[in-house]
Symmetry: C2
Subunit: 341 residues, 2 copies
């Protein structure tokens, strides 16, 4: 019953009068161990409530079966559902996931990386914090010789596997949609340029404007962290312009929500006077009023493919590590906030 002390293969060996190595081999289903012994070992293991010591086998094998995952925030539908799927895939291949949050802080991210390396993870899957510009710590992971896979927020310079959507194309799609709704003066509440994905969204936005013969105005692009307050501030700034925009494309749903709040407060009708599109398909976008048009990034797909890319690296360690981008298609979900009948 209350057998508190943990048992080892040695204990099992003692009970059966065989050696620990025989027990180890039996547990690992080694063909050179007789069926009889294997069954006996299983039985005794169960009786003694034996649990293998992962530290010992990991040390011996030089493999911990742990995967470190770094995300900016767990409290985001996108990241939590990506991680959920990743866990599912990795677990089914014998890996356990250690999930850490950077809270968008570069410093926290560095500490997380150190903690993961210290824990001897077999690899790292990460989405970079908004703040992150220096890549030194990520280089540290690479120099350890363990796989590093980035998703969503990546960086070309690291030259590693990357899984994400085509931000450039997706942005163009958003602008095209807004133009089709009759919008002529489209503002962009953007993420910070230094982050690859936000830079691409800005590029896509600008290039689409050019394509539709609309003027690009610096005043209509405001960079921020894309939080709800950032969205509010940006919206207020846009409303102070001499000619105000007739559409807002926010590079994040929370910023879109902040913008929507301000619009409601000042009595500007959405979508009649101002169309609005967000990004990420956070659940709340569907139940605020009006529901916000947004981008579905196929979260589970990103999670699945990222995990599979990691597994592939583990299985082919000799494969040369280079920039390897896997780009998925995103989907525009049109809701009331950008519908002009």
């Amino acid at each position: 019953m209350g057998n508190k002390k943990k048992s080892t293969i040695k204990d099992i060996a003692n009970v059966l009068g065989i050696t620990p190595s025989a027990v180890s081999k039996a547990l690992n289903n080694n063909p050179r161990i007789s069926e009889k012994t294997k069954i006996a070992v299983q039985q005794v293991a169960k009786n003694l409530n034996y649990q293998p010591n992962h530290l010992a086998s990991a040390l011996r094998k030089g493999k911990s079966n742990l995967v470190g995952v770094i995300i900016p925030r767990a409290n985001s539908n996108f990241f939590s559902s990506v991680v959920e799927k990743m866990e599912e895939v990795l677990n089914s291949h014998g890996y356990n996931v250690i999930m850490t949050q950077s809270n968008e802080s570069y410093e926290k991210e560095c500490r997380n990386i150190d903690a993961l390396l210290y824990t001897q993870v077999d690899g790292v899957i990460a989405s970079m914090a908004n703040e992150t510009v220096e890549l030194e710590y990520y280089q540290k992971i690479k120099s350890k010789g363990i796989p590093l896979i980035l998703f969503d927020r990546g960086e070309n310079d690291l030259e590693v596997d990357y899984v994400g959507i085509d931000d450039y194309m997706t942005s163009q799609m958003v602008v095209k949609h807004l133009v089709e709704q009759g919008c002529k003066r489209i503002a962009h509440i953007a993420g910070f340029q230094h982050s690859r994905i936000y830079k691409n969204r800005i590029r896509g936005y600008k290039d689409a404007l050019v394509e539709f013969d609309l003027p690009i105005s610096k005043d209509l692009i405001i960079e921020s962290n894309l939080g709800i307050d950032d969205g509010r501030r940006s919206m207020k700034k846009l409303l102070e312009l001499p000619i105000r925009p007739d559409a807002i494309y926010a590079a994040g749903d929370w910023a879109a929500l902040g913008a929507l709040q301000v619009l409601k407060e000042v009595g500007i009708k959405v979508p009649e006077e101002m169309a609005l599109v967000g990004f990420s398909n956070e659940p709340f976008t569907s139940f605020v009023s009006p529901p916000i048009s947004t981008i579905n990034q196929h979260n589970s797909e990103i999670g699945r493919i990222t995990a599979e890319t990691f597994l592939d690296r583990m299985e082919n360690p000799s494969k040369e590590v280079t920039l390897n981008k896997i780009i998925l298609e995103a989907e525009l979900i049109i809701r009331q906030s950008s519908k002009n009948k």
Copy 2:
């Protein structure tokens, strides 16, 4: 530069012509090692880019400095902010956190427990899945002799430390508030009875009704998982009653949101015709319209105290493990959804 192979204390020892054990002692600041040697070791360690192998020291010391955390969902403001604070406290004491999600599934929870035990965590901090009734797996943690701390969703029968709010009192506070707004027929969209916290919320609700001389009706209490769809379904059921309620107290914000959606769809005015109160202070409650009254559980406090309780257990392993409830006070945030001028 690209020295990919990781160095060990043996490598350091070779460079300096001393033994690995001297290096180990130097790195651990053993008083019997000369200052000169310590400095030399530090220097060489840096040059060789030495990183201690956690697996080896954890195996030897019988302590991994890892804490397993199990939460129902990461995509919840409550849980993610609790975990964030826990991480902060535990990190500052040399522990790393392995965070896993049960997704409210008992089976996933069991697998998570196994994975954590396998990883040789020094302790487990958990909030139980809604589905969980069997305590066998949690007993398994206890029987390992490592600390188990529960927060928010706990279970008396496990007889371990628990950190949470006083659900009974809080529920009474909600009902009192609704009565003060003039409500006479208060429905409760409840969580499942088998979960201690939801049972207490139901008890508090009922006892408060009695206190205010209001009738308790079975029809007005609907148990569910408290998701958004559960809230919708429950609300629809309540609207089918011969006499419909004039207030809804939902034991979770998502259920409250679902209820609100239905009310808006059928054109019932909130709060004029029906008051609404949720639970947990999820961010969206403040920005839907009307903003939903809810309960602030002081997330960071719960995280901090839970972590400290864990640390206390680690420092005093001999302390007898019994039911030890630490109860924090919650706060009712009154917003428009339950304000009757």
